[in-house]
Symmetry: C2
Subunit: 318 residues, 2 copies
């Protein structure tokens, strides 16, 4: 089979450690259907990322509920789980479900029953740090009248591998202080992610409720299918989704999208003031970029990287 | 406000009773955001329809688990629930959730906690008839090696009302013998349904796992937004989704879609041998049509209507 240039892209700086850790294997020809779960798992396992996997912030009841999805663009195989508790790696469960012709999206108790029977690793997912942040927020909501919701930084990772296969995965603990059972866009095909190896893949992070109103990932892939490059497609899809929300509702929540097209190009766009993403490929080591709602893209410099690290690791004062 | 012609369309013959029951109020100017839940509830309440609400067939554990969604095309407000048990009218819960900016899609225990607190009517949803069918199927799976899955006739109803608002709703008990916690396309924006009053609405019934791989409802609405009539849009979306599945997987599950466009036209298409749908409008009393994968449309004649009734009401022999 003809070897192509390959490319991988992820939402948020938090994907960097996994990119670095698995770079050699990917460069060596590992397939995207195998390495996408590896890259997502690295974020799930990292305790200082508050919006994905272990260390993720809990819902209003103090429980960490997790959503994840996996889509293989060769076969359109799609698997997802939502509202599960105390499983170490939701992305692995989503991937296993994706091969099922029936019952490939499971939620709540049924999803946990499936995961237990299938032998997936269980682990208490609420860290001391996340619990402390939850207690502080609960107090602030009462005392300072703060809104309960912010922080919804889903990790979305996708790649075109050396054989041309395009695969995408997402994983999240969802909105901080969400209602029990709340599901956002991350496990939703067309909204949180979409992949078709004939066209490209796209995945979204932001306010899930608004992303589901616009199906922005599917729209991005359709633009690529129509011949647009990855960056043009994602610029148009994000600005169109934002405009559609403003026209119908007066306001649009945060939406940030990353994508790859079938020719190995990548793209990223946001309607926010700052969105970080990580890219690597045949000719590029793992690199963190920043973009914003004006469509400017720049390398994350050392000062930005240090500030990001410090913020994630700072002592929680209560 | 200028009064327009109005139109309503639903998947499957089973929507007929509700159309007849609520026709006068709709003709009188009731708004779609109000009458869509009425029409869906009529199907949920009808005990002889085995795939929606009361009387719906249970999952592999003998439990009826219900999914529903509601989308208002004026505001893109989207609400959904999945995997809930023993609530009489899932569509009402989905509608109430749709007005929330956050937490508008709830699943499993959390969804039931919300519905209990909000005072929605609870009701044991497993009928004696459905339980008997479940027992027979369980036995047949063991004795005759039958596949567990068939029967996934979601009710999807949408309308453009006299003010031009386009609204859609879905409700289902999902695949017969599904795994606990399984969610299909019905509560999924872009797959099970999509509505934008500026373009149109579409909703799907069939094999949810395959519908989620193609986002066929969103695609149908995009074709209408690009200027195609409802029928042209849905013909193209269903044939394209079917072809995409065959190309990537060798096989496509059942997909049937109904839609309305912003000019008050309706459309229906299927990749199956027979798909029934119900229409009414300014100049048309509630009418049942049939279509098939060749794109032919005909009125359901009296013999067909009688056979349908007899099949739903026949004595269950075990």
């Amino acid at each position: 089979m003809r070897k192509r240039n390959w490319v991988a892209i992820a939402t948020w700086r938090m994907a960097l450690e996994g990119f670095v850790q698995h770079e050699a294997a990917i460069r060596d020809g590992k397939r995207a259907s195998e390495f996408i779960p590896d890259l997502v798992q690295a974020v799930e396992d990292y305790p200082f990322y508050k919006s994905v996997g272990y260390g993720g912030l809990p819902n209003e009841n103090g429980v960490v509920q997790l959503d994840a999805a996996f889509m293989d663009g060769d076969t359109l195989a799609f698997g997802a789980i939502a509202g599960i508790e105390d499983f170490a790696n939701p992305i692995r469960i989503a991937k296993q479900l994706s091969v099922e012709r029936y019952n490939s999206f499971l939620v709540g108790e049924g999803a946990m029953e499936y995961a237990r029977n299938a032998g997936f690793a269980q682990k208490p997912m609420l860290t001391e740090r996340a619990e402390k942040l939850w207690q502080i927020r609960k107090r602030d909501i009462v005392e300072k009248g703060l809104a309960p919701y912010d922080g919804h930084d889903t990790v979305c990772i996708m790649a075109q591998d050396q054989e041309g296969s395009i695969v995408a995965g997402t994983s999240t603990s969802g909105l901080f202080m969400k209602k029990a059972g709340r599901v956002g866009d991350s496990p939703i095909s067309g909204s949180g992610l979409y992949a078709d190896s004939e066209a490209g893949a796209a995945a979204a992070t932001g306010l899930g409720e608004d992303i589901m109103k616009t199906c922005v990932s599917f729209q991005t892939v359709l633009f690529m299918q129509a011949g647009m490059t990855a960056q043009d497609a994602v610029d148009k899809a994000v600005s169109q989704a934002t405009a559609q929300l403003v026209r119908h509702r007066g306001v649009a929540g945060d939406i940030s999208v990353v994508c790859v097209d079938k020719d190995g190009n990548f793209g990223a766009a946001t309607n926010t003031d700052e969105f970080s993403y990580v890219v690597m490929g045949e000719d590029m080591r793992p690199t963190v970029y920043l973009t914003d709602k004006h469509g400017e893209h720049r390398l994350a410099d050392e000062a930005w990287m240090q500030a990001y690290y410090d913020e994630r690791h700072k002592k929680i004062e209560d």
